[in-house]
Symmetry: D2
Subunit: 297 residues, 4 copies
């Protein structure tokens, strides 16, 4: 059986690595903060001391890190993965980065003789623990075929999207709709509130209507009460929308709603960084000078 | 049994009036264009020659017209409903107008001694014919209690929302989310297309994701193929968004996404007025200079 | 010499009426609040008791009121101007209303046998007092030729723009640029502040650059110190942008910046209604969570 | 006299280098495309074969390149400037990059023992040739004091803005206002055109009004005739707005107008890449389906 490396054993990485261990794979792990890796070791994982050690001892190397800058450091930094590495490794990046960054990574690794798959995931820590994440994969099809059983050990909800970057583009497309739909709920609630509609009744009426969305169903009620307990933090949504904005810059894309919705998430994140992403309504409350459900005409 | 008046026997009005006839009610009808009223007469309706005749001969007067200007003409114009009318009529307006316009109408009629309910509907011609419309009602609660059986004859999906204007505000809240969600699908598809994702695969992946919405499910596939056969025309969506914009003006509401999405619907309606509302993607295709699904990098 | 009527002797109306008196014209005046008219009477004006009395006793009737609703009441309300009025009067409206409203007014008065000029002014109370207002006139050219000497008595900065509504459209075009330029200064200052630039130095550098504007010159310095003493109140700018928005609705115009800038003025007016219009920067301070010039990185 | 290096002898770099030669300085030059450097050699410049040669033989090294990527290659690439370079050089970058990129460059060079000034210029090729560019400088004050005479040889319109990145931030602030003001002119013209105003008269009226700006004065007339001969290309404005957008991403800045105006420049650049930046009006013409000045009601 091929050995697996896993770099980045944090909130998302750890439960995914544990799933690989549960399926009987041998996994070499590394994290910049070794204290994060205790569970991983106890579950049978082999903790190594650097990214390059992981790379040298594994056929497949998974990464799950917060940003492209981290990923580049892990790959090409001092003691980074590809230092004196024998050719032919398959790198699978489970992080969320921009499509152009994924393509750049793929090209850089191809020059060094390795394969790279962008494989961002959706579904949060819960989905990672329960093996129900959605994984959207871009990159070389043969590399995907090789990595497929391992990815299936992480989650069965797996789609191969096409060439390098398309996994990331698909995740961004989903999260962009998520953000826009949520902000749409926020604007509809502010409108209803200002017009004196009882928000419970409003939600009841629209919940079955043509304007419904997954976000309305999950968060509409809490938003109408100015409560933001969602598991997907406003800071992470802001990060994903920054990647959308970066992609718009990279490719000269004109997407007016996307540009506007990021401004709202920026404002919400500045005002209440610990909120769930449904806290985007805070931006509208600031702009209008009243809290949703509390407008006094 | 109380007699009913029905003014405006067009695309939406006629099937609603027919439903009242089917339930055994006696209905007096009027339309500016009498040729529209043939089906109504054949189904047992009594066609009268003016709005005021309808009003004088009916306890409840329903209206279903394209705009507030029409409604005012029908009510207060030459031979308008309230001309020399005995006090105490209940007017039920099934049209879509602005909440402030509904409140104004309610006040004007109250001064003349009548009640007014705003009762906009959602669900299109099909919903009207099949009695499955959603009806959102605002206005005096006692008047609603009286009118309730008649409204239930039109559709059982009936919600009383509160004071005057709240029916309209609820409809606008729904349609605003509808518009924003649809434009969100359009931006996500343009992004995916530009990044080289196969749109069939993209739709498959996001259809079950956290960014899903009723509009994605209904129209995503057609939008990805530049086909806009939707039954809800882009011109009507533009009209509803104009009412949102009017409401923002009336009440100094700051709703950045709503303001932006109207610009896109204006552009789509200018470019292809006969399209279904999912044709909003046309605005993005113009801005970016390529058709969705046909970007050649 | 022809007699002149002047309806609306408020902040703007009074100094304009006084200029007509100074030039030797006989002026009949009316205001809903007679106490406003004291200066007018003392300067030799004849105060009458209703709009209709003014109209009956004057060849030219000037109006200067806050809104279209006021104008309609003055014209067509109980004791409104045109009640039993002999045909052939020339009405000159110095108020700011929407172009479509001016056209509607012109049509209604034409049906009654009168002429109507839209003649909005720019330059504030100071300009009105000093006779330096800019007056932009739309409507029938012959009527303009008749009214011209009177308008010149109010200010020599007079331009005939064309058919009915074009005076208002020109004023809106100017004020739209004014609003957008001011908000542009605000965004540039917020950007500079966030990047740690000394705003005095920044202003010095850009004041002579290609991004300069009348608003930058007048208000840039105050805005950088969070001071908003401008004579043109944020509430009035908001009102003019509402007219732009109304015009966009009336004519299905897609103007993305205009739509966006109104959201910012709405927010500023909600937060600090007494500020000068340069207080639009308040909206950005709310969104970003820091005051311009006080960002602590 | 200290020797000077100049890397990047293109549209902007060449005339600036020639100004240094005219003032009697000894200048070592390099360009990736040596054919660009003929004028430089003929004017007495010393053409060298690599960036590192220039750096080794010069006390001050000026750079003028299209993008941050180019700058990084020139500094840190193979045969890049700092290869085995003795400490203590002063680098002066005349390119336009993002403030955060300038700070990053400054830090990287500081680690290698060198100083870095960001010194973007404004005023175009004409300003470069005539020595009338505006130069906005950020970075270490002592380094600025050393470089000052050389910068003054390029242009006397020189301002020291503060710490690293503030030169770039100032340039972006100017160009952001430039873009917003121009797009504001475009929206005002579209509004006037739609309302039937003669655009010559409109321009005459607003040219002296409170909405005036440098861009209105320079380009209003051409824009009203759909002519875009401006020397500042729409592609370069788009690039600068991308830097603004990048800065908004880097620093979580919420600037709604800035976000919106970039969408318009993206659209104009996609439609007519060779136009002057005043061609931003093309985006509005697409959205509204008519050419400015040619609306047929």
């Amino acid at each position: 059986m091929k050995t697996i490396g896993f770099i980045g054993l944090g909130t998302m990485g750890k439960p995914m690595a544990l799933n690989l261990l549960k399926k009987g794979y041998q996994v070499n792990g590394y994290d910049l903060f070794p204290e994060k890796a205790r569970d991983f070791s106890q579950a049978g994982g082999t903790l190594l001391n650097s990214a390059v050690e992981v790379a040298r001892n594994s056929h497949f190397i998974f990464t799950s890190v917060p940003s492209f800058v981290n990923l580049q450091e892990i790959m090409f930094g001092k003691n980074g993965c590809i230092k004196d590495l024998i050719k032919g490794r398959i790198f699978v990046d489970l992080s969320t980065i921009a499509p152009a960054e994924a393509r750049q990574m793929s090209e850089q690794l191809a020059k060094a003789g390795h394969s790279f798959l962008d494989a961002p995931v959706s579904g949060g820590q819960k989905g990672a623990a329960e093996g129900t994440l959605t994984i959207m994969v871009g990159g070389d099809e043969a590399a995907f075929a090789s990595a497929r059983p391992l990815l299936e050990a992480i989650s069965s909800r797996l789609t191969y999207m096409g060439t390098s970057g398309t996994g990331q583009a698909t995740k961004l497309a989903n999260n962009l709709m998520l953000a826009i739909n949520t902000a749409g709920v926020a604007e509809a609630l502010m409108l209803g509130s200002r017009e004196g509609v009882d928000l419970n009744k409003l939600l009841e009426a629209v919940m079955i209507g043509s304007g419904r969305s997954a976000q309305l169903e999950s968060h509409g009620k809490n938003m109408s009460m100015d409560m933001f307990p969602g598991k997907f933090p406003v800071k992470l949504m802001q990060k994903d929308l920054r990647l959308v904005s970066q992609t718009m810059i990279d490719d000269n894309l004109s997407l007016p709603l996307s540009a506007t919705v990021l401004q709202l998430y920026n404002a919400a994140a500045a005002a209440q960084p610990g909120a769930g992403h449904e806290g985007v309504i805070i931006a509208l409350e600031q702009l209008n000078g009243y809290q949703v459900g509390k407008y006094q005409g």
